[in-house]
Symmetry: C2
Subunit: 911 residues, 2 copies
């Protein structure tokens, strides 16, 4: 732990730097850096993330003892630079400050902020006097009481209750007969402050604090507290941010966008966050504070003329004259400040070499930057920006790859609306194209109910006036999100983009009626009710009633460029899990360099095959089984021919029969009767067989190579089908590369025995066909014991493929089929950080994998090692696979590009 | 590999020694040693075990090339000493030899032997001439052809066929009208030799070899081949003898017990192998070869007068006169040879310091020793001999301990069948010897009815397809348990062993018919009905129809001495797995130094408890659960008071609730209806709950600390019951030492959370009671991930107890309940050497245990580590536990003595 806990900045100087984000958080580090490169930033200081840890462990008093002097010095420095006094009694301008969180990684909207801190009955008067704008002063005061009351003193609405501060505002509006906040007079605002203080007194029994220092410590601690709120914990889990990181606290002099018509506030992006186009864009509001832009209470306007015109065009019926008169851009209303802002945005992007998400305030014509950070973006925008910046020479190839979020490629790979189906669809309303993609689902109005519907396997679209962090889990389970309010930077828009989820925001023409669970389209008779199907196009903002079919996405040239770049830097190959020629072709198009897992049993269910399989199961003896297997042989051979053909020249790993035989028999009486009559046996025989096959724990039962070792004739048939198929293709001039994989090996002798059978069948086939093909025999490593004895197993295996699904089941002792009974509680309580079936557990399962790889290679130094299973397409797991020295990962076809990128990133990171 | 492959011996000289048994096998090493100490042994030589390995890998030709010269030298040396010629043409006495196997560890009867080798048409004549006993010569010849034809040329009876040589003998007997072999004339024997040769010709197409050298090489290779026969492989598996050891081959000059009435052959033991008494005993036959004694074709007689008299007494109606006349002892028939033999046996026992099993031949009045080895003995004899020899100063304490076979103590701890009664019994089927002892009772098929029958003072045997926790009380009142399914570690087996109750499990040939209340034996007409008497031998797996009387085992003073000696040398403690005060007391009597596993759920089934448990399960919310748990609290507390009292001053490890909740709900509709009416809820609710609790793989499901972490109130109740019980006892002046064990931990946070709850409850109880007790909180290590992350887990755990049952399930991916579907085939095929649930797998599971222990102690150097589970009472597993540095093992009460002895042996072996 450092002995310095507070880093000051302001007036072109700073104790921190951009590369100190671990200590100062992203916001604090960038505030410091902006100072150093000459961007105008209000003075202030950052309390380090280390203090957050002290707070969590030792509490408020310890923190106050630890940093009190440094905070005092920080305030003194800020006072000096801003020429204002904290707790001024009138002799000077009062110093008001903002107190904001700032973690290493941005967690937008997740933690608390207090603005206008330092305000009290003295300060408001001086502010009113000195600014000559009493309305502004009193408006700031009432905002402060409301915000501090909420954030620090914990006054929020009970369930079903209206927010008590908002209730006071509504009451006063009615009393005064005014419509908007901005219509309140100074006296009204003074009254509101009094009523707000009374709310605080009523609700907490405490008097609202007037001492700025007391206010400050309260706010600092509240920010630290907000690190541990449920929503913050949830968000961290989704984004995999460690709890230990903690948040920094930024205390910064207030500047005022609400000081009148020459003041404004806004947010901006140096490029288009949705498309990636190199167009400066953003939104602003005159005479407002930052929260107004984000909350959606007033609809913000575009910063640039271009953006403003595009907006007007989207609205459909706004002429250029109307636009210029009523919805002018910042470029038009404050051209000088705009020019300054434009220069700053350029400077910041050039400096940080990345698209920046900016917050700014214009106070009485003067621009202040409040924040810069790398902006969130859609997958498509991410790709385009990286390639554009690479072409523009802003970044090099490695940086282009490293910067990408592999998981976001997923958005580009997902289906879009089928054009034919789309043509027939009825557009009912349009909103902002907040997060791209196509989504289709049933309307639900409440986040918790979205979760319930999803639990019933319903696809849902969450429709809200606007979203808040409480809706996060509901959003996560929805296909898409539609909101009536809020712009491109609203909560719904930002979060949806982060999740790679389709979102249409600010569809102002919908009237959401929570009570009757429906929404109406203004000026029409259209009513859409809970449970109705709607479809959203997040790339255009269109909303359709009904269900629209979707089709696969088309990939851009930039996407291809990224993939080629990835392959240039990667060390690992990416294969795919595919059981059919069709899947194999899709994956090949996505760049798969082979099949890592072809599950033969998936072929057992189709058409007549299941009949032959059941014949085999019912057979009384080996002879009967062989007779049934004879029938399966040509079908399996045909399947393999198709797959080897689709994957010509590339390796294809075929896994021998894996599931327990009872998966092929029916469990209900009618189906058993049907099976009996099909097989020509009494139903009692079928029932007896089903009972005999029953297992208490099928996952740990008679399956995998335990089948092949108890019924070697199955292995013989499968080996024959594979080798015959390969020979047939080779005879046609093709180049099949079969790799035969024995599943569920836990003991060397199991593999020895299976290998012996396979090789002996192969030799027979070669001599029958008069031709040989190269092939490998290897094994899945999916049983803990296989990893622990991998040195022995490698003496026989020609390759290892880690089956991380089963390995995770057995290493944790979790049945994937049953884990839902406790895993959600475990995630909720933080006992587990992630679902280990989704994200590979590096500590436990990973340790077994490392053991397996290194033991295997201790016996056979060049042993080919890969992974198959869900984790092969999950970026952090792919990176782990690289680190332990695997040769390839294998994943579902649609995740192949993600794995390719992640593999390249791993290669760069651990070069 | 040594360059010397053949070791000669004879005439008081030998190239080998007794301590060379790895190289020469037990027989060869002892033949050498007997020469060196002056015991008369026919000359010969030993081919080393290393040659067997060469044979298995490279075949006959390679072996012949390798050792031909050495074998020739060996024969030449033997010729010289015995003054005879191999392949004599008449000038000298012909040298005939025996060719016998000899592994490091005795495998009696498992491998092949050829006697009288070297015999041919020349030799027989010379032998007839020189011995003056043509009958003996021709008898030897026909024996040789028969034996060589069988062993070397592979002529055996086909299925259902009579042995072809025996058929010739029978034919000739009929022709000649004689009854016994001994009645054949010389001509008959000559005819027989001719016919035998014809059999060989007919069966193999080959002429019987006349060249002694050809005969010799054939026999040597046949002995090597017999190392790999099915029965030898099976025996090695049972006795855990590695295949790599190989067998030596002993070629030794024949001496002839069948040279007439002054010749004899026999076997003898230096002490009584059944009782251990220090009485020389054995059996012999006049005018016979060794095989006659063993084969049972003629009834052998006792060597000593004492033995002979005892035998006569057992027969009941043989007077001393009759005995002396018709069944005289060797002591009487050949007093001089007997005196020699008696001196030799004394010399050998004194020399080897152990009871010897001897083979001897008296040729024309001269004694020859053919073999000496440590004799097999019963458990009782083993103990008595060790203690006797210790007292006699033949061995020291350490040797006494090291020599014992720990597993054999088991025989002494359980009731046994009365021998007389057993002789009359009919065995009907065989299952696994799941829990030793003998039991006899009337067949009952339902656990509740077992209780009813027991209440009527009936002795019952509970017969089930398999048992479940619901059957617990029924099992407790039964004399023994018989199941159709499940292995050595099935529920029935484990529980029965824990109860010290006889159990035969997995008797796959019985077909249980619950409806008609009977069971059938497959492929027979035997039907056994409810109420019929059956008897089980849990030590052999035999099931008998009818009643066999049993007698209780009594523990001897010698047994106590052995236990005390063990404790003197041991390092590990031995605790017990016990769930009731009764079990605890039994175990304490057997010397348990605490309870290593007290399964709290076993208490949940009794009386009203199951009702409260079900109430908890049906509760809609935490409040409802708490209400039900309130009812359980006093009952659990009472149980713990009883156990802490029984184990006063000793540690008691209490495991928190482990099984999934569905084990407490009934599965069939009638029981569900009963439960519903008992609970006062509609049956639909019960059914819905049962369905909701259903799991695909319950073994990997919602159980262990996953219950305690999802329903913390269960942990709270159990912690309270334990701590309150401990406080109550302490208030009474007792010294309870609770150790609370959290089951199924796989992730540190699971344990942290449970520990937090336990400690907080404990503090509450302490303050309520105004007293404190010392207690520990630790965890089972039974999930692979727990072992892999043991360094983290040890930061919280105060002790580790390896749950090797579950750890084995997950490390192998074997469900104990289902493993019977393939494990027998795996053992049969040699894929697995042992059932890993019976004998701890050192390579895989053991590696995880070692990892867990060393990681755990890397965090907490003094960490207390033990094992609970079936392996804690299995000697080789106990030795492993010692080697990895465990502090204790815990096993079922009846295995405590075995574990104590094994622990002492481990301490001596790895001092």
């Amino acid at each position: 732990m450092n002995t310095k806990h507070v880093y000051t900045f302001g007036d072109g100087k700073a104790e921190g730097r951009a590369d100190m984000r671990d200590l100062l958080g992203g916001k604090g580090a960038n505030l410091a850096e902006m100072n150093l490169i000459g961007v105008p930033v209000p003075a202030g200081f950052t309390i380090t993330t280390e203090v957050c840890t002290v707070y969590n462990q030792q509490g408020r008093d310890a923190v106050q003892r630890l940093i009190e002097n440094e905070v005092k010095k920080g305030i003194a420095g800020t006072e000096k630079i801003m020429n204002a006094t904290f707790g001024s009694k009138g002799e000077t301008f009062p110093l008001l400050v903002s107190v904001r969180s700032g973690a290493r990684k941005s967690m937008p909207g997740m933690m608390d902020t207090v603005l206008n801190l330092g305000m009290n009955d003295d300060a408001v008067k001086i502010l009113a006097d000195k600014s000559g704008n009493p309305r502004f002063a009193w408006d700031s005061y009432r905002r402060f009481v409301q915000m501090y009351g909420d954030v620090v003193m914990g006054i929020t609405a009970a369930k079903g209750e209206h927010n008590p501060f908002e209730a006071e505002i509504d009451k006063l509006k009615k009393q005064k007969g005014v419509l908007n906040d901005t219509d309140f007079s100074v006296e009204d605002l003074q009254l509101l402050v009094e009523r707000f203080k009374q709310v605080v007194k009523d609700r907490t029994g405490k008097t609202f604090p007037t001492d700025p220092w007391e206010q400050l410590w309260g706010a600092i601690c509240a920010v630290f507290d907000s690190w541990m709120t449920e929503r913050a914990i949830l968000y961290r889990r989704l984004e995999q941010i460690p709890e230990e990181w903690g948040t920094a606290v930024n205390v910064q002099a207030m500047v005022y966008g609400n000081m009148g018509e020459t003041s404004a506030t806004g947010v901006a992006f140096t490029r288009d966050a949705a498309t990636g186009e190199d167009i400066f864009n953003g939104e602003y509001l005159i005479n407002a504070q930052g929260e107004d832009v984000v909350s959606g209470a007033r609809t913000p306007r575009a910063i640039t003329i271009e953006g403003s015109r595009r907006w007007a065009k989207q609205q459909g019926n706004i002429t250029e004259e109307t636009r210029a008169a009523h919805f002018p851009s910042l470029e038009e209303t404050m051209p000088k400040a705009y020019a300054q802002l434009n220069a700053v945005q350029q400077k910041l992007e050039d400096y940080f070499h990345d698209m920046q998400d900016l917050e700014f305030t214009i106070q009485d014509g003067k621009l202040w930057m409040l924040q810069t950070r790398s902006g969130k973006r859609t997958g498509a925008a991410m790709i385009k920006m990286a390639i554009d910046m690479l072409r523009q020479g802003l970044i090099d190839e490695k940086t282009a790859i490293e910067r990408l979020e592999a998981n976001k490629l997923d958005e580009l790979l997902h289906p879009v609306f089928d054009k034919e189906s789309l043509r027939k669809a009825t557009p009912v309303v349009k909103g902002l194209a907040a997060s791209p993609g196509a989504a289709c689902g049933r309307v639900v109005f409440f986040a918790d109910e979205a979760e319930e519907w999803k639990a019933r396997e319903e696809k849902v679209i969450l429709v809200r006036l606007e979203t808040s962090p409480e809706d996060l889990r509901g959003m996560a389970v929805s296909e898409g999100i539609l909101t009536a309010r809020g712009g491109m930077t609203s909560h719904a828009a930002v979060v949806a983009r982060g999740m790679g989820k389709c979102c249409v925001s600010g569809a102002g023409d919908i009237e959401v009626d929570y009570v009757n669970r429906c929404f109406k389209i203004k000026n029409t008779t259209t009513v859409i009710r809970e449970g109705d199907w709607i479809s959203l196009n997040g790339s255009t903002g269109q909303v359709y009633s009904g269900k629209i079919e979707t089709t696969a996405a088309e990939l851009s040239a930039d996407f291809e460029t990224i993939m080629k770049l990835s392959d240039k830097y990667t060390r690992m190959h990416v294969r795919t899990n595919a059981d059919t020629p069709r899947d194999a072709r899709v994956a090949r198009e996505f760049g798969a360099s082979g099949i890592g897992l072809c599950r033969t049993e998936h072929m057992f269910f189709e058409g007549d095959r299941i009949k032959a399989v059941r014949e085999m199961i019912l057979a009384e003896n080996e002879e009967g089984r062989r007779r049934a297997l004879e029938k399966l042989l040509p079908m399996q051979r045909g399947d393999f021919e198709g797959i080897f053909d689709a994957m010509n020249d590339l390796p294809v790993t075929v896994r021998l029969l894996d599931p327990p035989l009872h998966e092929f028999t029916p469990n209900d009486l009618p189906s058993q009767q049907e099976m009996a009559s099909e097989m020509g046996v009494p139903v009692e025989k079928v029932i007896a067989k089903v009972n005999a096959l029953h297992e208490i724990n099928p996952m740990l039962g008679h399956r995998g190579c335990r089948l092949g070792n108890t019924y070697p004739e199955i292995t013989e048939m499968q080996a024959r089908a594979i080798i015959e198929a390969a020979c047939n293709l080779k005879l046609k001039g093709k180049n099949p590369r079969p790799e035969i994989m024995v599943p569920l090996v836990g003991e060397l002798k199991e593999l020895e025995e299976q290998t012996r059978i396979i090789r002996s069948v192969a030799e027979q086939v070669f001599s029958e066909k008069g031709i040989r093909v190269e092939y490998l025999v290897g094994t899945m490593i999916e049983i803990p014991r296989a990893a622990l004895t991998a040195d022995q197993i490698a003496s026989v295996a020609e390759f290892f493929s880690f089956g991380t699904n089963d390995l995770t089941q057995m290493t944790y002792g979790y049945s994937r089929d049953d884990v839902a009974k406790f895993l959600p509680v475990y995630i909720e309580k933080g006992i587990l950080k992630n679902d280990p079936f989704e994200i590979l557990d590096k500590k436990g399962v990973g340790k077994l994998i490392e053991t397996g790889v290194s033991l295997g290679r201790s016996t056979k130094p060049g042993l080919k090692v890969g992974v198959c299973g869900e984790h092969g397409g999950e970026p952090s797991s792919v990176i782990f696979c690289h680190k332990v020295g695997m040769d390839y990962v294998s994943c579902s076809p649609y995740r192949v590009p993600i794995a390719r990128l992640a593999a390249a990133q791993a290669a760069l990171r651990y070069a």
